[in-house]
Subunit: 256 residues, 5 copies
């Protein structure tokens, strides 16, 4: 679970809403028609560019990005070394009870294939597409979030233009001008807020997360394949470590 | 038929027009001279950059993108396997009645060539240029839509500048100022609306659609060529599946 | 002659000037000092970035882009096949009367070299640099037009800032404010108008034109060299067609 | 220690603050809620995009960039040549007293490995990951600073929109309008100031610094490996000079 | 000496200052504190990004770009052919009196090495780094000028924000508002003016100049090396012409 993302969004809302409440007249900042123009327009533009299923998939992708815990590299290497030792000592079937203890479904599936007696080649053929499928999904998700981050301010500006034109119809009292202009500016505020606190940073996070998860999955795949070939724990450790960046490797060496 | 595009554009219009009507004074938002400046200026700039035939082709490209149904990958593979079986069992001529049942003209043309007894090489020579021609047309179409998406707001701003200068000539009554400024802002509104709800998302959709249709056509071409070489249904399935992304392949395996 | 460019510019001027005249007070939009700042500033910046000869060459490049007629691919192939047939039947000298009938100077020069008895290698050595020289000239021209398209709005803004500062000195009557601000906005209008209707679309057109002319010249060069080698009309057609995009090739096959 | 960075930031603050004080009403420019929106919002967005540890690491990276003194190339080459001479004359152990005199920890670690009798290959295996780790850290740091440089003005604009909406609620007296608008503009000022004087230039500096430090470390590594192989001082000088850019090499030749 | 650059800057100043003087109140446009914020802030940001020596080097690089005369390609080839003839006829020493007649220091240095009896290889080893050093210096110079072109408008905007906040403190009389706003806009004017008339075009010019001078130096180096190898004037001409673009080569052929 990526705590920073949740804290960041909550804290960001708290800071902005706090500033609004502290300034007084917070009720004015909640305006349904303005929300409709900004969020509705952005959603429609995204539907035209992409497709409905892709748009809906964004929610599950973001949810998974925030909730799913990527197993740490140290942990994966440690487990792989243990499994290799068990495999050497007691045979592949002795790994079966370990499957239930894994909370990463990809890891569990790989171990299941190993226990089922699949050879290294067919495990790779079955798991490699999963990694590629995940990367494709994440890449599309990142593009959609980036497009939303560009479309939200654009429709915010469109909403402000509508509000300004409506306000300028009758400029009788300065008070009315102020009210109209305040409402007109709300859509720009919504668009800038959604883009800069939600869509743009989430697109960035999804890119970082995607790379991290791919590396973890490739480490797991490499480790499982190594065990399937009957490699010794030492060789399994070396093959999984090849995916670890050089800086991290030192840290892992200290702990594993 | 790409429902999302149509729904997106209609819903987007509905949201924006709804917000305008709800705010009152909707008639003010329909101003012929402002429309002329924004859409006319943009069209002229596009005509200078590209050429008249390219500009006119955009309408048919967009229409085709929205209306044409790309055969699903599952369906193409399923049909290819069937055709390969028929070809093996009853000979190429037995495929003739199938041509009329295909609603994809590229597929029908390919099958016709097969029935006509063309060999694998000459089918490829005849159909490959069609795929490249389509990709070229789509690439130019995407560039034109992107240029329109940049030119529309630019001419919207030019229109607003004209309107502002005209308004500033006589600043006698605040009411007149408001009216003049409202009209001046309309061109910016038109430009932003056209670019963000129509041109930019359509350019994106065209890119996605172009890739999808190319893959479908390449799958069909590969399948037809495989049948023409007398490959077995199993080999035909494998060769057409090579174009399917890894994630999709799993889904197809389940259904085919 | 590229009609679309001329129509586009004329129509664009007509639309914008029409909107100005329809709004009244058209005389106000013609302001010599504002024109000096925008066009003068832009010209000076372009002179600093590039050099005087490059800046002056732009006029002739643009003029040639609009006026010069690129021979159609169909026409080039048709002629090459004819010339190859004449060459085979009556020898190279029989091509001499054809030179005068060609209105493309590059084509005429190539044919002259052929008639003069130059071999394939030396024709290529003499004509290839001409194609490269043209591409270099066009690439520089495109860069200059793009720079102008960026500099014009920038100096428009500089002019508006000057106008605003001058206007803000004395804010006695609202009428004077309006007049001053209207004049100040004119430079921004000039800059945006020149960039979006002239420089940016012309830069795009020059890129498209340059590619088209290069292909035509390469087709001519390839055809002349093939004839110089004594190739048969069929081979000449095949070698010139290699430069035609696949989509176009079908159309040409139908006509040739 | 990079004096230019410190002088630049201090002088920049001095210039801007000086202009504020000279204009009078400096107290007005210090507004806690506005600071919270700009800096708080930017920090939250950075936390969402990156992660908390990465965000915190930025402070130490920037501090190290400003404080750490990269040994000059001339100095490294001079020392390497001396060490090679000592190594040749008195053996590796004679280098031990030199370790304490080095204030660069990477250099000291390399020399320690040399004194410990490690061969060239294992020194490279141990030190190479350190260089890569540093480059990765700096690359992430640069990305974060660049994101902050983009997010700060964005949240400045969000703050200004909030301030404007709050101000426009009641437009009774022109004095109140002025006060409200002044406060609203402060967030934009904070965002532009932080981005343009701190984040964007620091990101650039970090890139330059990272390249410089990498080259210095690679020179040290190459020199130590050469000494470990028992190369002569002349060869050591040549191998370390290979990392020096050609222009600098002339200067070094004059001094070494 | 690049006349276009000097004329461009002088004419640009003349146009802008002329427009200011013509509009009246020119004294208002010269405001020391505003100049300090814009130029001072930009200088500080550049100092943080780059370093003090790099910043100071910009002046000499720009001065050299404007003043230094790059020998024309025709001239270099002509001289090389002459020197090759002299070398063949009278030996290398006969070239000594020519050194004093060359006003290009790189050319003179190369010829001196030739006269000193250095062979082709060592001349290349000594002169090649000079070309690379020059290219590095120019590349850094271009980057600094581009950064200044981006920083100047940014600090202009910061200055305007400061001025606006100070102006908005007391909105008692409309006259004072105008004065304050006029002063506030001055920094934006300074920033836009400096960036668009000086920094951005100079960065472009430096790029063009750097390429031109590199080619000239490489031609000189190639020619000197050819003469050192005792090549005939014809071969020397061919080897130096290899650096000339194809379009230029035709012109040179006509003159040489």
């Amino acid at each position: 679970m990526d705590v920073a993302t949740i804290i960041g969004i909550l804290l960001g809302f708290f800071v902005i809403v706090g500033a609004i409440v502290a300034g007084g007249g917070a009720a004015m900042f909640f305006h349904i028609p303005s929300l409709c123009i900004t969020i509705g327009g952005m959603t429609c533009a995204t539907m035209i560019h992409f497709s409905l299923p892709q748009l809906l998939a964004i929610f599950s992708i973001v949810k998974k990005t925030i909730i799913t815990k990527i197993p740490s590299q140290t942990q994966v290497i440690q487990r792989m070394v243990n499994f290799a030792a068990i495999n050497r000592r007691d045979g592949t079937l002795a790994l079966e009870p370990e499957i239930g203890r894994l909370n990463n479904p990809f890891f569990a599936k790989g171990l299941q294939l190993l226990v089922d007696g699949q050879d290294s080649e067919s495990i790779r053929d079955l798991l490699d597409p999963e990694i590629q499928y995940l990367q494709e999904r994440h890449a599309v998700g990142k593009k959609i979030l980036e497009f939303m981050g560009a479309a939200a301010p654009a429709f915010g500006m469109i909403g402000t233009l509508i509000g300004l034109v409506q306000m300028l119809r009758n400029m009788s009292s300065p008070d009315q001008i102020g009210q109209g202009m305040a409402v007109a500016l709300l859509t720009t505020f919504y668009g800038a807020f959604a883009a800069n606190l939600v869509f743009i940073p989430l697109a960035g996070k999804l890119g970082i997360y995607s790379k991290k998860e791919s590396v973890a999955m490739e480490m797991i795949l490499e480790g499982i394949c190594a065990i399937a070939q009957g490699d010794s724990p030492t060789i399994v450790r070396e093959r999984t470590q090849a995916f670890v960046s050089h800086g991290r490797r030192r840290e892992i060496k200290a702990t594993v």
